[in-house]
Symmetry: C2
Subunit: 220 residues, 2 copies
């Protein structure tokens, strides 16, 4: 192993920014800390990377252990290593972000300590987690423009109006319905299921599905 004297070894954690669309707004799943430091404060779900574990595996595991969520889109975001970011000592945070379909808000592992917070009304956050969330939001917003990442928020079947709400929730601005439909149908990533969705006193909507569910395409 390495010589621990010459260079202090660091604690490495995986921290996960878990996004969903709640109602019509982008939200993140936060975890209320019980222990010091920042006891009682909200922070990102996350924890130590195990000695023989890949970083992405650690992120997937933290996601599953803390929230019960599995099988969702996950991508590495950035690594934070300011020596002062953790008062206990040197801690490297490898951050990830995950996108959760909005029909999975009911978590397997319900907990008082977990709650969704709208990104434009966040509480005080532990460590540098506010900065991590801000960066994740920025990245997500940028990826909307040149990839099909937003489709990862959708359940198995969804309507085009629902998809439009997702785009609008992330971008924070309204989109033109006709142009939006032309664009997403032009991506050739979704297909009509033939089924319809009735919801109220109005014309039913066609239900669509992803052609290749897990896949995120780079476009343009």
């Amino acid at each position: 192993m390495f010589d621990a004297q010459a260079h202090a070894q660091a604690s490495v954690t995986a921290e996960i920014v878990i996004f969903t669309i709640r109602g019509d707004r982008l939200a993140v799943l936060l975890w209320r800390r019980e222990r010091e430091p920042f006891a009682g404060c909200w922070g990102l779900p996350g924890g130590r990377v195990r000695p023989d574990e890949d970083l992405e595996h650690a992120a997937t595991r933290q996601l599953a252990e803390k929230t019960g969520i599995t099988g969702v889109y996950l991508e590495q975001l950035y690594t934070f290593g300011d020596p002062a970011r953790d008062p206990r000592g040197r801690a490297i945070a490898v951050s990830y972000y995950a996108l959760v379909p909005y029909n999975r808000l009911l978590m397997a592992r319900r907990s008082e300590a977990l709650a969704w917070h709208c990104v434009d009304a966040l509480p005080e956050l532990a460590f540098d987690h506010a900065r991590i969330i801000a960066l994740a939001q920025q990245r997500l917003c940028a990826k909307l423009e040149y990839s099909t990442i937003a489709l990862q928020f959708m359940p198995d079947k969804f309507t085009l109006s629902e998809l439009q709400v997702v785009y609008e929730g992330i971008l924070g601005e309204p989109l033109d319905k006709r142009n939006f439909r032309k664009r997403v149908q032009g991506l050739r990533c979704i297909e009509d299921t033939g089924e319809q969705f009735r919801a109220g006193n109005h014309r039913p909507a066609k239900l669509f599905r992803l052609k290749t569910p897990g896949r995120v395409e780079i476009i343009r």
Copy 2:
């Protein structure tokens, strides 16, 4: 400090992919390893992050110590943490990439152990460094499209033809001269110095400079 028993602490290194344009091709600066593992093999310049040092500081320092290069564009790339990536034990590599103007190929710290290698003719590389370089190249190529990052390869004064060679070297394909000039001048990031550059039996070229040297703009 953290409990070192419960979770083994990891060695954290900063590894730097240093790009330049040599001739008309994209090249990376590699370092011939003297010690095991991978002795005699080429690898990325890099080394341990110090106990009280920010990650970006570590990358800047490694760059300066190993190559003498300072004051260049540097950006975090990705963090690699496969438990098997270093045969000595757990090692987290926070990778960065740097862009060096091509008139700085003469390094302050010349060394037999350092050499530029064209990205499409790389030798066998230590650890997972081939993968790191491939990712850096992909990122650089993507950033050409939506930012002014290529200007970071330019010296204080440069001609539009030189700039075009840089774009072509990164993209690996020829560009139309007139369209290229229209595009880069439309960015409003460079200005005519009024000076000229004479180089041979032909019309001299106008010299341009960056309006705001360190700045990289996101475009489109």
